[in-house]
């Protein structure tokens, strides 16, 4: 294995965000194929991302917001 576990873990977030390519991507994939512990850690990082996304606030849009914004636009940037 080219990467140590410590080096692999540092790449997890970039991997999950599809920001790895070329040699970096291939090295991490090779490490994951051989290291079950890192696979579990990566799965948890993915799980945690999904968990936080799922808990993001989803407030209903206030009914008065459009009228408020329209008034502000009418007053103009200097208002």
């Amino acid at each position: 294995m080219k990467l140590t576990c410590e080096q692999a873990v540092k790449q997890f977030f970039a991997y999950l965000d599809r920001a790895l390519s070329g040699e970096e991507f291939e090295d991490l994939e090779a490490h994951l194929e051989a290291c079950l512990n890192c696979c579990d850690k990566l799965a948890f990082s993915r799980q945690l991302d999904d968990f936080v996304k799922h808990h993001l606030p989803d407030n209903p849009v206030p009914a008065t917001l459009e009228a408020r914004v329209r008034r502000a636009l009418e007053r103009g940037p200097g208002a």
């Binding site: 977030f13 850690k41 991302d49 968990f51 936080v52 407030n59 502000a72």
Partner: protein, 201 residues
């Protein structure tokens, strides 16, 4: 008429404003949801959306591709929050960075083993948190870390797009996303200790 008044009139030209409103207002809901996720409080989110639209109207004549108005509005809104962090001292209040980089919620849950009979320990740990606790943990992140992370979760841009949106190098985005997630892990662990989900002091 003074120069300032002329400039003001130009921006307020009813035709330009009408075009702007027709293009921009259909995205009000999306902008509001993003604002609420970045700011936490509904009132702050409304203020931010209003500020975004007023600023966008001023810059509207310079928008080259009206089809890209939604990402453009999202960029203006995000920059209003992100640029605010530069004048704040909260950015440095994340503790020892080397220690933060080493922080691993996965390892801590493993060591603590709060549910000895569970065959999905880490999943069960996360399931203990309520909506409000996760949101508070996210809001505990300084804006410098929270803005790129929330944008990544909501808009799913590439690192390059995120860097362009926030006006900073790709390397800064990478490190903010990495550390933002680590701070979030740390906040959840602290919350678990306070709630006595885990015994560690």
């Amino acid at each position: 008429m003074s120069l300032g008044e002329r400039g003001h009139r130009q921006v307020l030209d009813p035709e330009t404003r009408g075009r702007f409103e027709a293009l921009a207002l259909p995205h009000l809901g999306h902008l509001y949801r993003l604002a609420a996720r970045l700011k936490g409080s509904p009132q702050d989110a409304e203020d931010l959306v209003q500020e975004t639209y007023v600023k966008a109207l001023r810059a509207f004549p310079a928008l080259r591709d009206p089809e890209r108005i939604r990402p453009w509005l999202c960029q203006i809104l995000s920059r209003l929050v992100y640029d605010g962090h530069r004048s704040e001292s909260r950015e440095v209040a994340v503790g020892d960075l080397a220690e933060l980089d080493r922080f691993s919620l996965y390892d801590l849950i493993d060591q603590e083993d709060p549910f000895p009979y569970s065959d999905q320990l880490h999943r069960d740990f996360l399931a203990r948190f309520h909506d409000g606790e996760v949101r508070r943990a996210l809001l505990a992140l300084p804006e410098a870390y929270r803005v790129p992370l929330v944008l990544l979760y909501v808009e799913e841009p590439s690192y390059k797009e995120l860097a362009a949106m926030l006006g900073c190098p790709v390397g800064t985005i990478m490190s903010r996303l990495h550390r933002g997630r680590k701070i979030l892990e740390r906040e959840l662990w602290e919350c678990a200790k306070q709630r006595r989900i885990v015994r560690t002091r």
